[in-house]
Amino acid sequence: MTRPLLLTGGHLLDPSIGLDGIGDLLLMDGMVAAVGGNIAGPDDAERIDCGGEYVTPGFIDVHCHLREPGREDVETIATGARAAAAGGFTAVCAMPNTDPVTDNQAAVGFIRAQAAKANASRVYPIGSISVGMNGAQLSEMGEMVAAGAVAVSDDGRPVVSAQLMRTALEYARTFGIPVADHCEEPTLAHGGAMNEGVISARLGLKGIPSESEEIMVIRDILLARRTGGRVHLCHMSTWGSVELIRWGKERGIPVTAEVCPHHLTLTEDRVGQYDTNAKMNPPLRTQKDVDALVAALKDGTIDCVATDHAPHHNDEKNREFSDAPNGIVGLETALSVLMTWLVAPGVISLSQLVDKMSCAPARVFGLPGGTLRRGAIADVTVLNPTASWTVKGADFKSKGRNSPWLGSTLSGRVSQCIVAGRQVHTRTIAS
């Protein structure tokens, strides 16, 4: 039995219930037992002094790759769940592009079992849209949802067939889950290694045009309009996508969207001289895209932040740019990157960031948490707003070291991650 936990003197920050001020938080039996003011708490409660820190609902990442089963050499559910905890994510959604693919109820059950053993952050499985992610036959979504899947996606691959996407939206609607799509028109993007533009022309790398994303964004929005199914657009990267999503939302079409920390903060310039830690799909775009994405996050056109955490082995990244795999790790840097780039300069408030990293993802995927309301699950993140730290790969809990922020000094850091009223990550931050 977990002892009650009493967080005292922290700045409670929870936009879901309009909480923004100093107060205590009592967690008992895996639930929020009391919130705000001075709480005496039971005698056996463990007290944690949160003075000078923010206490927020636990962050939720609706998009990460934990690689197990299949590539346990680059990440396991256990190391991924610990990396999530270190980054303040009390829950993450694991994409199904594992080997074998998470396309049936047994595979969903395996992920849940491994997550339970890991005993760190919660891991919610995402099932595949199609069997083997081959884009042909629908996966058994009903059984996967019954086994604990929270969404379906063929992420990493686009759903090429519009007809399959249509039926996926219809079928998933039956079970009340969103269909998360990796928007990429494959014939346009084929062979591309970075954003198509000035830099790709100079470096002699085949570019991925913005339109390869936008064509699929509008297709998916139109299919959501036709079917009433909920489409969730993964890792948006272009200003054009933002305009299309805005168009869809204005018409009441059931579309939601996420954006990654790297697309909110970095441009194609970061590729520099073929740095494979700046290679991801969708690629880093231009300042115009970054500005539009930030504005869209602020105004709600884009609903939430997601990391697209994608660990790769160093040997695979340490090679020719065009042959290196796409993706970067993100769980352990997301909060600090966004605090440094967006909150510190006053682009968005910390409260808005907490909404985008906790409340909104819970809402979008229909997950528990994302709030400190009394009676909610006791998933809590405590962060120190002034801590300054330098990113070092060796310090990651993730097995992945592929981060574009290695060596960067960031401000703001997670100090506690609490899942179901239990501390799963604690970091002492020197003041």
Binding site: G197, V198, A201, R202, G207, Y274, N318, R319, E320, F321
Partner: protein
């Protein structure tokens, strides 16, 4: 700054002074290839590996002659794509070669950025002999030398690169080198074979019509059209390409001035260039090949620490 540093990876990152120093160094080295005994001892005892991951005849042979005429010990390693299936990475291949105590690697590789990737990971000097669709700096230098020989200076001269600029490493090196030395640069070809936004990305003028390019230019550098561009859908047919973009005698005859003609080879006669142009009085195509050896000798010499002003002295010592 006229020194070159450790490697020659591209012309984009070189200054006009550095490029000029290479060309000035190449000039006296040309004489070596005209002698009965075509050899100087400048690089005696130095070991150079020509590491070719892509097929090449002209460039590899040119480097090999340059190395041998400077008395370096050169080894050719031709690695097909099979090395990838064998599983050895580029960095492992290079480290193994370096463990045999070499001084320099000349690399040709199908991936853009491969030469830089290698240079950042080994201590030997690295020369880029063509990386993907990025750059081919020694080809760019030999084109510059060839034009400078004719004109004395590149300042204010107008050069148009014709054809498949999108996939051409030769084009990128030429564009950077020409612009740095004060020439005006244009490109001409079907838009499907030009980088989207070439004007902004590369600082060039774009001509849609070869006739307009010919009217504008002082020289044309006619790029090889890879024959697979048709099957992969960039252009409808080689026949139409020749009809619309081919550099023909008839088109050149309408030009207001005599144009110098360059081609990096190998040529597709009757596609991008007609034979009577390639073999005509203003063609510098074979001068390019001759100059290639001198330019590569200059680069080898400078990267191994040679002083530009002593290049001629070095050749004298070999006599």
């Amino acid at each position: 700054m006229t020194g070159l540093g450790k490697d020659l990876l591209d012309l984009e990152s070189l200054s006009a002074e550095q490029i000029t120093a290479i060309l000035d160094t190449a000039e006296p080295l040309k004489a070596i290839s005209l002698r009965a005994i075509k050899k100087v001892p400048t690089l005696r005892g130095e070991t150079i590996v020509n590491l070719f991951f892509e097929a090449s005849t002209r460039t590899r042979v040119s480097f090999e002659f340059a190395e041998k005429r400077m008395s370096a010990d050169a080894v050719n390693v031709a690695i097909g794509n099979s090395s990838v299936s064998k599983g050895e990475t580029l960095v492992d291949t290079a480290r193994n070669l370096e463990a045999m105590k070499i001084d320099m690697v000349v690399i040709r590789h199908q991936a853009s950025g491969a030469a830089r990737f290698l240079a950042e990971r080994i201590e030997s000097n690295v020369i880029n002999a063509g990386d993907g669709t990025h750059e081919h700096p020694t080809q760019g230098l030999l084109d510059l030398l060839t034009l400078r020989d004719k004109w004395g200076t590149l300042k204010g001269k107008r050069v148009c690169l014709c054809g498949d600029v999108l996939h051409s490493r030769v084009a990128r090196s030429n564009i950077h080198g020409l612009r740095k030395l004060g020439a005006e640069v244009a490109v001409c070809g079907p838009r499907s074979l030009l980088p989207n936004g070439a004007e902004e990305a590369l600082g060039v003028t774009v001509f849609d019509r070869i006739e307009a390019a010919i009217e504008w230019a002082d020289a044309l550098n006619i790029l090889r059209l890879q024959l697979e561009r048709m099957t992969s859908g960039y252009i409808p047919s080689l026949r139409e390409y020749n009809r619309v973009f081919g550099v023909t005698r008839e088109r050149l005859d309408r030009a207001p001035r005599d144009l110098l003609i360059l081609h990096p080879g190998p040529m597709n006669r009757g596609v991008e260039i007609d034979s009577d142009v390639a073999d005509g009085p203003h063609s510098l195509i074979l001068d390019q090949v001759t100059n290639g050896v001198a330019v590569r000798m200059a680069v080898l010499y400078l990267l191994r620490g040679g002083r530009p002003d002593l290049a001629a002295a070095g050749t004298a010592a070999g006599e």
